[in-house]
Amino acid sequence: MKNKLMHLSNETMNVGFVKKVEALSGSSVRRCFQCGKCSAGCPMSTFMEHPPNRIVRLLQLGQGQRVLAGRSIWYCASCETCTTRCPNKVDLAAIMDALRKLSWDADGPSKESYVQLANRLFIENIRTYGRQYELRLGAIFNMKSGQFLKDLMLGPKLLSKGKLKMFHSKNRNIGDIEGIFKRIEEMRKKGEAL
């Protein structure tokens, strides 16, 4: 996908997707003139197959599929260095947020990426227990991702130091936390939150 010939036409350029990104992020991608300052300062840039400036470039060309197919958006640490330093006021951190949200919603190629899986389990854990239950998170992540033995040997060490707990108690105010989730869901329905 990365190096595949790019056909450009009104049909192949998904302007609707870019409009969505712009609406969600509140930032124009057309403002970017590709100076590369975002990529220059990005701490995660070396891990990305598309550095931040290229993400914007692909959006300018209506190539949302190419962006979502990669993992770059999941490597973004949301440190906002790019946004802070951009000479054209392109809020790249917000664009990355929007892209992650759209990737989440879409049956996109990265739907099953481990980052998404980890994020989903993390949130589910909090909703169920009111706080993080690390052992369960690790166990379910390993099962669902099919890597049963991943980091297994760290378990005893962490347990002995008390960093992991075998059993977990629920947060006393679990009802309030459920309230937070409900409110966000409602806001999402109204389009007020990502």
Binding site: K2, N3, K4, L5, M6, H7, L8, S9, N10, M13, S28, R30, R31, F33, Q34, N53, R54, R57, L58, Q60, L61, Q63
Partner: protein, 665 residues
């Protein structure tokens, strides 16, 4: 014994970096006849000049040598300073130890030795120098402007408004040039015709302007203040004094299918025509190559229908000689055309772009005509092959420009901006269309220029792709454009309906020939050279000739108009005086020894040498000798070198001076 002062300049670090200036000054002080020597950081600065003036007074100097940069740079400066100190300015000379020494050498010791040598020999020149007085010549307060585009029009109007008479000569049947062809102009998008045509009418109506269209420069004689220019008036076949511009001849002409040059060959015109409806003058011209009357001798319709009887098939080329004091050259540019290139052009075509073979690959000027309300499509963007409205248009920048391999290494300067403008015009006229631009760099320096380009991208939705196009080919009714986006690092393919090439700006055809007639210099691209890139940007090295517009190098309209007004201001400065002072470095004949062989006359490039008769008291002819007209003499010294009897000497460069300089080495 002479009392010469030597002043050695550091030129900041330019000289002192390589040359030990203190040692040079010290060595100069030891030359016999040098009464004073010193070194200073910037001799040309105000304190430097004051130093020179003070030394002249204190040490009673009778000659001054400034060892610094080239005399082309500062000779005038120092001669003025010497003059204000009471010295004859021609007793002040410069020793060039910058361009001729410090800039071209690295070894400090050897460079210092060379600088000392240069100073030594120049001291001898000053010693043998003579006081000279400037020559005065009368100024003809009438200017010639060559070229009737926006540059020539602006210069002509400015000079004429100042109260001087102007002759404007245009090669084509109408003035207006390239600007009249444009649809709208960046960065404000005002209609070119709307701002251009009033100026054209002003030229035609101005009492101080004599307008010659369909005319060319045949010959240029004379010198600053006193040029004699022969103008060739090409046979128009229509008597301008009789023609009323009614246009009946054009409507009745049976031959109507001739591609119109003004519309880049995309519109049609008759054989008797005006290039465009707003032409100035509105007098038609007969295109003899395409006229049935001239080709087969049968037709004559235009002469029959012409009420005032202005059509004249018998007309021939005529010539007039114009006396002018200054010349403004404003001959403009042409666009690099790949298919119509002359065979001997060093520029190779772009076979990969299919220009000239694929009908829907056009150049920028053709797009201007398509977008223009006065153009062949009435302002609708329709492609040439089938007249359909293109939905995908690809623009390619830097075609010809910045391509050393193709023979042009320079940037054409206007293409980035006009391509941005084209995408906007296209977007305004075809709302559902998409414009793509392949570019290497967007070069938009200028007031409001970058904002204009960003507007094309951000608001008018042009897709700019950094990268070039490798190939284009016809596929059905589409043109497949294969390029790359180097920011993403992928190959890009677009099926376009129309491709517009931003082709390079080049010097006009025949620019070199005109330069040779005028005696001005030009670069390897045939663009005219200014006297100094920064400090004399509108003057030619040849005195009295000024440059305006794109004949000097690619330029946009604001720059062209600025330069035209600047050239006009230079002409007005020249015309502000009745007498013109000239450098007295001219040749003089020693009539006693001259044998009248006139070898000098044969070699003189300026035509300055005349034959003079010497008669005794009874009026009998004794002999003929050479006489140098000081107003015409260019001071080149060729006659001095040629004269077999050594009876011509160039003031300021006498044999005595040169021999003394050689001996000093």
């Amino acid at each position: 014994m002479s009392r010469i002062g030597v002043f050695v300049c550091h030129c900041g670090e330019n000289i002192s970096r390589t040359v030990d200036v203190e040692q040079v000054a010290k060595a100069a002080g030891e030359i016999p006849g040098v009464a004073y020597s010193c070194d200073y950081k910037y001799m040309c600065s105000d304190p430097g000049q004051t130093l020179l003036k003070k030394a002249v007074a204190e040490h009673k100097l009778d000659g001054v040598l400034v060892a610094a940069c080239s005399p082309r740079m500062h000779e005038k400066t120092f001669r003025k300073a010497a003059e204000s100190a009471g010295l004859n300015p021609y007793l002040c000379e410069m020793a060039n130890i910058r361009e001729h020494c410090s800039w071209v050498h690295e070894d400090r010791e050897m460079a210092t030795e060379k600088a000392t040598g240069i100073v030594k020999l120049m001291v001898e020149r000053v010693r043998k120098g003579k006081s000279l007085a400037p020559i005065t010549v009368p100024v003809t307060k009438r200017a010639l402007v060559i070229g009737g585009g926006i540059a020539g029009i602006q210069a002509a109007l400015d000079i004429a408004d100042a109260g001087h008479r102007v002759v404007l000569v245009e090669r084509d049947p109408s003035i207006g040039g390239h600007m009249a062809q444009l649809s709208e102009t960046f960065p404000t998008l005002d209609c070119s015709q709307c701002i251009m045509t009033p100026k054209m009418v002003d030229v035609a109506n101005h009492p101080n302007i004599t307008l010659y269209t369909y005319a060319e420069i045949e010959k240029v004689d004379g010198y600053i203040g006193n040029f004699q220019v022969t103008v060739k008036h090409k046979a128009r076949s229509v008597d301008e004094s009789k023609c009323t511009g009614c246009g009946v001849c054009m409507t009745k002409c049976p031959k109507k299918k001739i591609p119109n040059e003004f519309d880049q060959g995309h519109g049609m015109r008759p054989a008797i025509y005006v290039p465009f409806p707003q032409a100035v003058p509105n007098t038609p011209v007969i295109d003899r190559e395409n006229c049935t009357m001239f080709q087969s001798g049968k037709c004559g319709v235009c002469a029959k229908v012409c009420g005032p009887g202005a059509v004249d098939y018998e007309q021939t080329d005529s010539f007039t000689v114009e006396d002018v004091g200054a010349i403004v050259v404003a001959t403009g540019f042409k666009l690099y055309t790949i298919d119509r290139k002359p065979e001997d052009s060093p520029i190779q075509g772009y076979g990969e772009f299919g220009y000239g073979t694929i009908p829907d690959v056009i150049d920028g000027m053709t797009f201007e005509r398509l977008a223009s309300a006065s153009g062949p499509t009435g302002g609708k963007i329709l492609r040439p092959s089938d007249g359909k409205e293109p939905k995908q248009v690809v623009f390619i920048q830097c075609v010809g420009s910045r391509a050393r391999e193709k023979g042009i290494s320079y940037c054409s300067k206007v293409c980035c901006m006009y391509t941005a403008k084209h995408t906007m015009l296209y977007h305004h006229k075809v709302h559902d269309g998409q414009a793509y631009v392949f570019f290497m760099d967007a070069r938009t320096p200028g007031k409001g220029y970058d904002e204009f380009w960003r507007r094309a991208v951000e608001e008018e939705e042009a897709v700019y792709i950094r990268g070039m196009v490798s190939r284009m080919y016809q596929k059905g009714d589409k043109i497949v454009v294969m390029g790359s986006d180097i920011q993403v690092g992928v190959q890009v393919e677009i099926e376009a309906d129309l491709v517009v090439l931003a082709t390079a700006v080049q010097a006009q055809d025949g620019a070199d020939l005109l330069a040779q007639k005028l005696g001005i210099s030009y670069d390897k691209y045939n663009f005219y050279s200014e006297a100094h890139a920064k400090l004399k940007p509108v003057e030619c090295a040849t005195a009295g000739i000024y440059l305006a517009g794109a004949c000097q190098g690619p330029k946009d309209i604001p720059d062209t108009v600025s330069q035209a007004s600047a050239a006009a201001a230079k002409v007005m400065t020249l015309f502000a005086k009745d007498q013109l002072e000239r450098d007295p470095v001219v040749a003089k004949v020693n009539e006693k020894y001259c044998v009248g062989c006139f070898a000098c006359k044969k070699v003189c490039a300026y035509g300055a040498i005349e034959e003079k008769e010497i008669r005794d008291r009874q009026g009998n002819l004794v002999k003929k000798v050479a006489y140098v007209n000081p107003g015409v003499c260019g001071g080149c010294g060729t006659c001095q070198a040629t004269c077999p009897s050594k009876s011509i000497e160039l003031d300021g460069y006498t044999d005595e001076q040169i021999m003394a300089m050689i001996e000093a080495l």
